[in-house]
């Protein structure tokens, strides 16, 4: 559970509310969300579609603005944190530029943030190695498989050394086998870099396998129904998914999801 990492709070939401004004009237996307994420946590957000898990992640990234409540990231407002480039964001699709090589794509944030050329190249080498894509820098996106493209997009989010990594269903579009492999790699990467990770998913095994903290959410209005602290060790081989402990946590997540569902029925 978090290993020997310091327990400094990185992200804190208090009474967070967010209502979208749409043509069909207001949509209550987040209601009274309270959550504390500590440094080095791997937090998964799980719930059915419309539960606000992606919206909450986007709010942390200051891509959405809460209607009320407070949200601090690294001790400042989400907007300030975004301007300070506090996080790397990985979207559902890799979204690599077809006109840039893999190295060129990873350099994109570095160019915008004004790193010098030598530093850029050095960082590209380092993150390509981190996501196991060393030697693919000169390839174009279309020459890579979907899984490799998503790894390249993770490398792009890691390149500027933000302490927080926000991932919005990054492996949702990939097949089961690739997904398992990437989950394993992501855990290794998390262990090596000691980043704080926010991870949106709708897969229970994925959430349980990856997380130190699982946030169960339910829709209409989007809210947190349960926060589960994982008791699994930091070191997690894929086989851990057959252990009694794993299955028990998965059960609790499923119960949480069902309870949220029954509330609405």
């Amino acid at each position: 559970m978090g290993g020997g990492v310091s327990q400094a709070t990185v992200i804190e939401a208090k009474n967070l509310d967010l209502t979208f004004q749409t043509n069909d009237g207001p949509v209550h996307a987040l209601k009274d969300v309270n959550l504390q994420i500590n440094k080095g946590d791997f937090v998964s957000f799980i719930g059915p579609s419309g539960c606000g898990k992606t919206t909450f992640l986007r709010t942390i990234a200051a891509l959405e603005t809460p209607t009320s409540g407070t949200l601090t990231v690294n001790g400042m407002s989400a907007e300030e944190a975004r301007k300070n480039r506090a996080y790397g964001y990985v979207f559902q699709a890799a979204g690599l530029y077809p006109w840039r090589t893999i190295a060129g794509n990873i350099k994109l944030p570095l160019e915008i943030m004004g790193f010098d050329k030598a530093e850029q190249n050095q960082r590209v080498e380092r993150v390509l190695e981190l996501v196991d894509l060393a030697g693919f820098g000169n390839k174009y996106p279309w020459q890579l498989s979907g899984g490799m493209q998503q790894r390249a997009s993770i490398a792009r989010a890691l390149a500027f050394d933000a302490d927080i990594l926000l991932m919005d269903e990054p492996f949702g579009a990939l097949d089961e086998i690739v997904r398992d492999h990437l989950n394993e790699q992501l855990l290794k990467l998390w262990d090596r870099t000691n980043k704080t990770i926010g991870f949106v998913t709708h897969s229970i095994p994925e959430a349980v396998y990856l997380s130190t903290k699982i946030v169960v959410m339910s829709p209409r209005p989007g809210r947190i129904t349960d926060v589960i602290e994982s008791t699994l060790p930091r070191e997690r081989p894929l086989e851990i998914r057959d252990s009694a402990e794993f299955i028990e946590i998965a059960h609790r997540v499923r119960d949480g999801l069902r309870a949220g569902h029954d509330d609405n029925a």
Partner: protein, 291 residues
């Protein structure tokens, strides 16, 4: 290569219809001449005459391509490629105002599109005017532009280039507005997470994304530019260029000259569009965006 047979079939059909048309349209003149001379002609004599008249209503393809050769290739062999009776000379006049107008129109179109995408006021105000500008008949506004520019001492190539630009900027505006807006919400959000400014978003995302749209517009724009240059030549003096050739041909009933200028213009247009197409393919392939 597989498409060559259908293309040749269509070309052969067009020529066949054209020959038949020439025969029927020119036949009356031949018969009138014969009647005045008090002779009667056999069918083969009528047919031969309709194919070789000096000022036919509808010249045959052979006459048109003969004239094309006489005023281009043959002039080159004579070393008189740039004489006033050479279509190469006139073609160059049209081509130069077309290209200058195309460059002006493209730059203006891109600048307007950049403004429209980045500025709400321009978005609301410029587009309706751009559309309105294209509803004005070019044939009506071209002489006015020539006269106005002449009165402020601008003559020669520039007024014609401006009329060419007037027609070619529009497709570029429309295409580039669409192209600069083509990045999806996710791509724009990604730039936002880097705290990228408008300039960086434009330079690194919007502009590269717009390239396929730009080239499609350029193909339309360069053909429109040629049309603009020819229309401009109809109202400028001295009579020169493809437009001048067509006009002087119609003054003197030189139908063959009109048709050969028309064909030369079509060939030039096809070449220009083809060149833009090749540049498009090379660029998009290099950018990994080829369809």
């Amino acid at each position: 290569m597989r498409s060559i047979i259908p293309i040749l079939t269509v070309v052969a059909a067009i020529f066949a219809i054209w020959f038949v048309g020439s025969f029927f349209m020119n036949k009356q003149w031949t018969l009138d001449q014969a009647e005045r001379a008090g002779t009667t002609l056999s069918f083969s004599e009528v047919l031969a005459d309709t194919m070789t008249q000096e000022r036919p209503k509808l010249p045959t393809p052979i006459q048109v391509f003969d004239e094309l050769w006489e005023t281009t290739g043959a002039k080159v062999l004579d070393g008189k490629a740039m004489s006033k009776r050479s279509l190469i000379y006139h073609g160059w006049i049209t081509l130069s105002s077309t290209l200058v107008g195309f460059v002006i129109g493209t730059l203006a179109g891109i600048l307007l599109a950049v403004g429209i995408v980045h500025n709400k006021a321009m978005d609301m105000s410029v587009m309706p005017w751009a559309i309105a500008s294209q509803t004005i008949p070019i044939l009506a506004i071209a002489p006015m532009i020539v006269v106005v520019m002449n009165s402020i001492g601008v003559q020669g190539l520039l007024p014609k280039a401006i009329i060419a630009a007037y027609l070619s900027f529009f497709p570029v505006v429309v295409g580039m507005v669409k192209g600069l807006r083509s990045p999806n919400a996710m791509q724009l959000d990604l730039m936002k997470t880097y705290n990228a400014g408008q300039f960086e978003t434009f330079w690194k995302l919007r502009l590269p994304s717009s390239m396929p749209f730009l080239f499609t517009s350029l193909k339309v724009g360069i053909a429109a530019s040629l049309v603009g240059a020819i229309v401009a030549e109809l109202s400028s003096s001295p009579l020169a260029g493809f437009g001048g050739r067509m006009l002087s041909g119609s003054y003197y009933g030189q139908t063959i000259q009109i048709w050969s200028a028309l064909f030369a213009a079509a060939i030039v247009a096809a070449c220009l569009v083809g060149i833009v197409g090749v540049i498009q393919q090379l660029t998009l392939k290099k950018m990994g965006m080829a369809q």
